[in-house]
């Protein structure tokens, strides 16, 4: 039975938890899989380290904590430094390439970067950086389907923001697909 442990790390205010919620919702509600979410915070609401642990599995998830993720998504340099030692030896690193510079990567780790902040700013709202990353995750990994991820996104964001959020998601998704050489 397939199971994927995901850790998303960044700064408070970047929408780390919302990213985890959307991925979990996509998998569990719209893809018919099972998912759990654990969230961790620093002492401040904004600007401190923040992470989400998401497990997506075909079978029910008995243990929700992700100690050694298969996929690590990082949106800040601190999150990279803190969590890269926990990534599995053959794991996958997805990073915001203008905020994170990967170094000393374990040899078996595959890494893909995306200028998510720049894409979000091009779309008019830096706030949707996390949604670009969610799209990027879906595009690179295929752990959640495109249809499920879009449905989860649209059911999670405020009314009136759907169009821009969907554009942000699709930009991230397409960037991810292009990097892994998908048609």
């Amino acid at each position: 039975m397939a199971s994927t442990g995901i850790r998303i790390g960044g700064l408070g205010g970047q929408g780390v938890i919302l990213s985890g919620i959307i991925l979990g919702k996509a998998a569990s509600i719209f893809d018919g899989k099972n998912a759990t979410l654990i969230q961790a915070f620093g002492p401040e609401a904004r600007g401190s380290a923040c992470s989400a642990q998401v497990t997506i599995a075909d079978a029910p998830v008995a243990y929700p904590y992700v100690q050694n993720p298969d996929v690590l998504v990082v949106m800040s340099s601190d999150a990279y430094t803190q969590f890269i030692p926990t990534l599995k030896a053959d794991g996958l690193l997805l990073y915001e390439e203008e905020l994170v510079t990967p170094k000393d990567l374990p040899p078996g780790v595959k890494a893909y970067g995306i200028p998510a902040t720049r894409i979000a700013e091009e779309l008019g709202r830096r706030l949707v950086l996390n949604i670009v990353m969610v799209g990027f995750f879906a595009g690179v990994t295929g752990v959640v389907s495109l249809v499920a991820a879009e449905k989860a996104l649209l059911s999670s964001v405020p009314k009136g923001t759907e169009s821009l959020n969907l554009n942000a998601f699709r930009r991230g998704y397409e960037h991810g697909r292009s990097l892994v050489g998908a048609a």
Binding site: G12, G13, Q14, G15, V16, I17, L18, Q39, F41, A45, R46, C50, L123, G124, R125, L127, V128, N130, S156, V157, P158, K159, G160, T161, E162, S163, L164, N165, N167
Partner: protein, 198 residues
């Protein structure tokens, strides 16, 4: 800027439906026909004399301040025009304005609301925080359509409109603050600890 995908087929309250799409330069002759078909009373409420082909010529080309310019059509004939405009510079560049004209046979069937809904959705994407609409006093249908889309009366300018019979009417300014939409998104992104503040 990327908005919703157009064209879209929109069913109306009375069972008819129209195609809503973005206006293009090739619509010039259809727009002239549409505007010239409006009764004088309706045209008086527009900012420019759009019965003049040269005015329409510029309207379809000088689109720098137009965020989104939609038309509703059926069988190749334009039956409504809806525009979201904004100032490009200055201290009110976060404010947009909607302009909406619906041909008489297509009024009172929900078409105005359909078009306004598209414009309101597009506004936050374009960075517009407040949308403004102007309605002549007594135009109850237009006022209701705006109010149904979240607009509220902001000001009344007394006797600012002179109708076709020379009667002066009030000009109502209605606004819709759409900035709260992104405040909600910001709150969702806040990554608050659920126990914080307890």
């Amino acid at each position: 800027m990327e908005f919703e995908n157009f064209p879209q087929t929109e069913p109306l309250r009375d069972g008819r439906s129209v195609i809503v799409r973005e206006m293009t330069i090739s619509d010039e002759s259809r727009m002239v026909e549409f505007f010239q078909g409006l009764p004088l009373e309706d045209r008086l409420f527009l900012r420019n004399d759009v019965s003049q082909p040269e005015v329409v010529h510029h309207f379809v080309r000088d689109t720098e301040d137009q965020v989104l310019n939609l038309v509703a059509e059926l069988d190749g004939k334009i039956v409504a025009s809806a525009t979201l405009e904004r100032g490009l510079y200055g201290w009110t560049r976060h404010v947009g304005e909607v302009r909406l004209v619906v041909a008489r046979p297509w009024q009172r069937c929900g078409l105005a609301k359909v078009l306004l809904r598209h414009l309101v959705r597009a506004a936050p994407t374009a960075g517009i925080e407040i949308i403004k609409g102007q309605v002549a006093g007594g135009k109850v249908g237009a006022q209701k359509a705006l109010e149904a889309m979240g607009f509220r009366k902001e000001a009344t300018l007394r006797r600012h409109v002179k109708d076709v019979a020379g009667r002066k009417r009030d000009l109502l300014i209605l606004t819709n603050d759409v900035s709260h939409i992104w405040e909600k998104m910001e709150a969702l992104n806040a990554d608050f600890s659920p126990t914080q503040g307890e």
